[in-house]
């Protein structure tokens, strides 16, 4: 583990390329991102502050701030930053690091459960099958939820990348560890 900046460049760099992530160093704290942010209109998310905190290595403070999760990844700041800072991808990378270090809420972890069980973040149920029939479609689309052999491929990906362990997934109960009985909310 390096400084937060180094980790952002290393981790995000694996996907976007290091140069993309190194744009964080170009931030001149002008605040155009904050001024553009639709989230900041209603929440305590201050995009400029987030990047300042990242640059001065306030790792735990960022990881523990609920505002980190109030960005919708709308890319408005990304488009407008006068210094070409790849803002939204940097925010997503900070979240990736936070998630790997255990800072992920139960509802966010539950999204992974749905995908592990059905291949869909939003699975289909009997009522929606009727809606499909009403507009002349097959009751169930031919996706992973219908084809279990295809779903297994998606599950293999989760195992390979360690996403299952990251969200503390119990493969026997097919839900989060600690929720085996209720299988639902906290």
């Amino acid at each position: 583990m390096g400084t937060l900046y180094e980790d952002i460049v290393a981790r995000g760099g694996e996907v976007f390329g290091e140069e993309h992530m190194e744009t964080l160093r170009e931030c001149v704290q002008c605040g155009k991102c904050t001024g553009s942010c639709p989230s900041g209109r209603n929440t305590a998310l201050r995009t400029r502050t987030l990047f300042q905190m990242a640059l001065v290595d306030l790792r735990e403070e960022i990881f523990n701030s609920p505002e980190l999760w109030f960005c919708t990844t709308c890319y408005t700041c990304y488009e407008r930053c006068p210094k070409g800072v790849k803002t939204t991808d940097i925010i997503r990378t900070i979240r990736n690091l936070a998630a790997r270090e255990g800072h992920m809420s139960v509802p966010h972890r539950m999204i992974g459960v749905y995908v592990l069980k059905t291949g869909h973040a939003v699975p289909i149920g009997p009522d929606q099958m009727k809606l499909r029939e009403a507009v002349g479609l097959e009751s169930q689309p031919p996706t992973t939820q219908k084809h279990k052999d295809q779903l297994e491929q998606v599950q293999t990906i989760f195992r390979e990348t360690g996403y299952d362990a990251m969200i503390d997934f119990n493969w026997d109960a097919m839900t989060l560890k600690g929720m085996e009985k209720k299988g639902g909310k906290k």
Binding site: R92, H108, T144
Partner: protein, 296 residues
């Protein structure tokens, strides 16, 4: 994509087929009417959501998206989607895997575990781009059965259709034109409104992180459209549809007000203009009711 490509692999994602099948039905019906075929992608999964899975773990997001791309490659077809989330995810993954050879190698190592491979032979398009650029405004105009002359439409783009523009390639994200062009051929008026370019508030896990705050965000957007005299909102994103339509019930629970402001996916609105019924495009079975003025 070849010029005469008339068949697409239709990547459904989650919300289109599993919550708002009217979006799927209207997309298929319109394309068929213009002699464009759509094929089902057997075994496709969640795209997976770019702001959600991309926020949790890019290294898991990417191979899942790559697997979906590989399915279309095996079919030897280009992809069409009806959700900005799917568009964002699949197009970004395709872009990254085509740009970075090492990343492609690592991703293919995972896909190889079950005999699949990303080769880079497909492209990802969005239904409104197919309408605008492949079918073309002139051909659509000829087929308009119910002109929408007296309808004021609040155009909502969502985020991942336009941004980041370096990947999407639809020009400036501040002065978009594709949806406007499509609305104009139906005869509809498109008033400007304050929060036109604002996000619906749902993405990036925000809706899950804090639903009331996310609804308040959407409330501001809807109020600004209503105040500008708009009769309805038309958009190109199944995920926005979930927030903007279903979210109005949740807004009622959270704030005690039911706007009943009509929300239509682009092909639902276009479908009505092309002569389809509200039942055929699934608008009779959603939260918000579509007024006579639009149905006629």
């Amino acid at each position: 994509m070849t010029e005469d490509s008339k068949t697409y692999a239709y990547f459904l994602g989650c919300i289109t087929p599993n919550r708002f099948p009217g979006i799927e039905a209207s997309t298929k019906k319109i394309l068929k009417g213009f002699e464009i075929e759509t094929k089902e992608m057997v075994g496709a999964s969640c795209c997976p959501a770019p702001g959600v899975f991309g926020s949790f773990d890019m290294h898991t997001w990417l191979p899942i998206a790559a697997r979906n791309l590989a399915i279309a490659e095996e079919m030897d077809l280009d992809i069409v989607v009806s959700c900005n989330g799917c568009y964002g995810s699949l197009q970004e993954a395709d872009h990254l895997l085509k740009e970075h050879p090492k990343l492609r190698e690592e991703t293919n190592e995972i896909l190889g575990k079950f005999g699949r491979e990303f080769k880079g032979t497909t492209t990802v398009s969005h239904i409104i781009v197919v309408l605008h650029d492949v079918i073309g405004l002139d051909r659509i105009k000829e087929q308009i059965k119910k002109p929408m002359n007296d309808v004021n439409v609040a155009v909502h783009y969502g985020c991942h259709f336009l941004k980041p523009r370096e990947v999407r390639g639809h020009g400036s994200s501040e002065t978009p034109y594709i949806l406007e062009d499509l609305m104009k051929v139906t005869g509809a008026k498109i008033p400007e409104y304050k929060d036109k370019l604002m996000c619906c508030g749902a993405g990036g896990g925000n809706r899950t992180a804090d639903s009331v705050q996310s609804l308040e965000w959407m409330r501001q957007k809807l109020v600004s459209a209503i105040e500008s005299g708009c009769d309805c909102m038309v958009h190109p994103c199944a995920f926005c549809h979930l927030q903007l339509d279903r979210g109005q019930t949740e807004m009622e629970q959270a704030f005690g007000i039911f706007f009943n402001f009509p929300i239509l996916f682009a092909t639902q609105f276009m479908g009505l203009a092309l002569g389809l019924s509200q039942e055929e495009v699934g608008l009779d079975k959603q939260t918000t009711t579509i007024p006579e003025k639009i149905l006629k």
